[in-house]
């Protein structure tokens, strides 16, 4: 009984608080600075990554981005081969293979 009354009160509080917070989270006063902060943090990380990549490059080693590009190219190649396999199987007369 006591719990049920408390739960009703909690639900009302939770709903009102969520709506209040949503107004804040939708406000340009919060969104714009938060967006700029995330963008600046991203740019700082990208600059740090570029410096690290330049260092590894000077040592003649592949960078993380080089490895990502190579792996991606292999995946794309695999996809193209699958495309070709599909086309070949469409060209095969029925009853074969």
């Amino acid at each position: 009984m006591l719990w049920d009354a408390w739960k009703k009160g909690f639900d009302a509080w939770e709903n009102a608080t969520a709506q209040y917070l949503e107004q804040w989270l939708r406000s340009p006063l919060v969104l714009e600075p938060a967006g700029h902060l995330l963008t600046r943090a991203s740019q700082a990380k990208a600059a740090a990554d570029r410096s690290a990549a330049a260092f590894w490059g000077m040592l003649g080693l592949p960078t993380k981005r080089d490895q990502e590009r190579s792996l991606h190219a292999l995946n794309q190649l695999q996809s193209r081969l699958m495309d070709l396999e599909e086309r070949l199987s469409e060209l095969e007369p029925p009853g074969r293979g």
Binding site: E22, L25, P28, G35, S42, Q67, N75, S79
Partner: protein, 352 residues
């Protein structure tokens, strides 16, 4: 109170509920994604046209096969459907270069063709949930030939809506290109934090609700399975994330008919197959108007909307879904089977 403590204690002593446990086989794999085929029921299939389930890119596929009694996949198998599911897998760092061309056209196209081939059918019923619904709609518009019907469940189409996600992604301070250049894929912890911010009091509310129903072991099992899924997220491939924010959220290019995928304009009016859009009244991730907009844009003669109470995830896996939502999905596919239904089931039913 003591009974609740004891019930939770007993639950804690048992292993976590199994998720994604409907027996299925991986019938195809490419890069990180797999095509899963659920094993048919013992009596065999009742319908010729297979159903292809497409989940969101940023959550695990097993929300469609959550746990016993909360599995759409299992329900459809019991009804005699041939059920295939796309499991997008976990993107690697190298998948930062994958965009909508890859997911909505190349991979989904392959999934549709493989599904049709393996099921021995010309066409498939295409189903998409959340972002999977957006991908399915794009694919059905680009390559309509093999699509028997399109069903989207809380699949956003018009992105300029009143939702919080729409406000955040359109905030002028945020540069998605800089974000992707720095992080590659959009990191899942950051995205999960953003989703939690949609309703910051939700964690507390869930804890109170769990305690409220702690004496109900079925509820607790379902709660744990859903929490397990909710905390098992994947990162969003970078280029796709950038396109999602810029083209879809900021430019609303899909609804405006200006989205280009694989060099082609995505014109939803090219979707002429029967189309059903399921929307949820209290969906705070995909507002129902955003999902319902699909029906204003497709060129299908037969278009239906099913609007149900509930939220984005809860409405899909709740006990009410078993009685209301899932049967309606199956009925839609049966209605649009195209006269290819396997007669043996009807004969079997008549004989019973």
């Amino acid at each position: 109170m003591m009974a609740k403590i004891l019930s939770l204690g007993r639950r804690a002593a048992r292993p976590l509920p199994e998720v994604g446990s409907t027996p299925s086989d991986a019938v195809f794999a490419e890069n990180k994604w797999r095509l899963l085929r659920a094993r048919p029921r013992a009596e065999g299939l009742a319908f010729q046209t297979p159903v292809l389930l497409v989940p969101s890119l940023i959550n695990r596929h097993y929300v469609l096969d959550l746990t016993r009694g909360k599995s759409l996949t299992s329900f459809l198998v019991e009804r005699g459907h041939d059920v295939f599911t796309v499991d997008w897998g976990t993107p690697g760092d190298e998948d930062r270069f994958l965009g909508f061309d890859d997911f909505a056209d190349r991979y989904l196209g392959r999934a549709v063709r493989r599904t049709a081939l393996l099921a021995g059918s010309e066409r498939v019923h295409l189903f998409g949930y959340c972002l999977g619904g957006t991908l399915a709609a794009i694919h059905a518009a680009l390559r309509p030939d093999r699509i028997q019907s399109l069903l989207t469940l809380a699949g956003p189409v018009r992105f300029h809506d009143e939702g919080l996600l729409s406000a955040w992604t359109r905030s002028p301070g945020f540069d998605s290109q800089a974000f992707v250049a720095a992080f590659g894929n959009a990191p899942w912890p950051l995205m999960q934090a953003a989703f939690q911010l949609l309703r910051p009091t939700l964690a507390l509310s869930k804890a109170v609700h769990l305690w409220h129903r702690a004496g109900d072991p079925t509820f607790v099992d379902g709660f744990l399975a859903l929490e397990r899924w909710g905390n098992d997220n994947v990162s969003f491939p970078g280029r796709a994330f950038h396109e999602y924010l810029e083209r879809l959220y900021r430019e609303d290019a899909l609804a405006r008919g200006e989205l280009r995928v694989s060099g082609e304009r995505v014109d939803l009016a090219r979707v002429r197959c029967p189309t059903l859009a399921v929307t949820f009244e209290h969906d705070n991730i995909v507002p129902w108007k955003s999902a319902a907009a699909l029906l204003d844009l497709v060129g299908a003669a037969e278009r239906e909307r099913l609007h149900l109470p509930g939220g984005h995830v809860g409405a899909l896996v709740s006990s009410a879904a078993h009685k209301q939502l899932w049967p309606r999905l199956s009925e839609f596919w049966v209605k649009h089977e195209g006269g290819a239904a396997r007669q043996k089931t009807d004969r079997g039913r008549a004989a019973r």
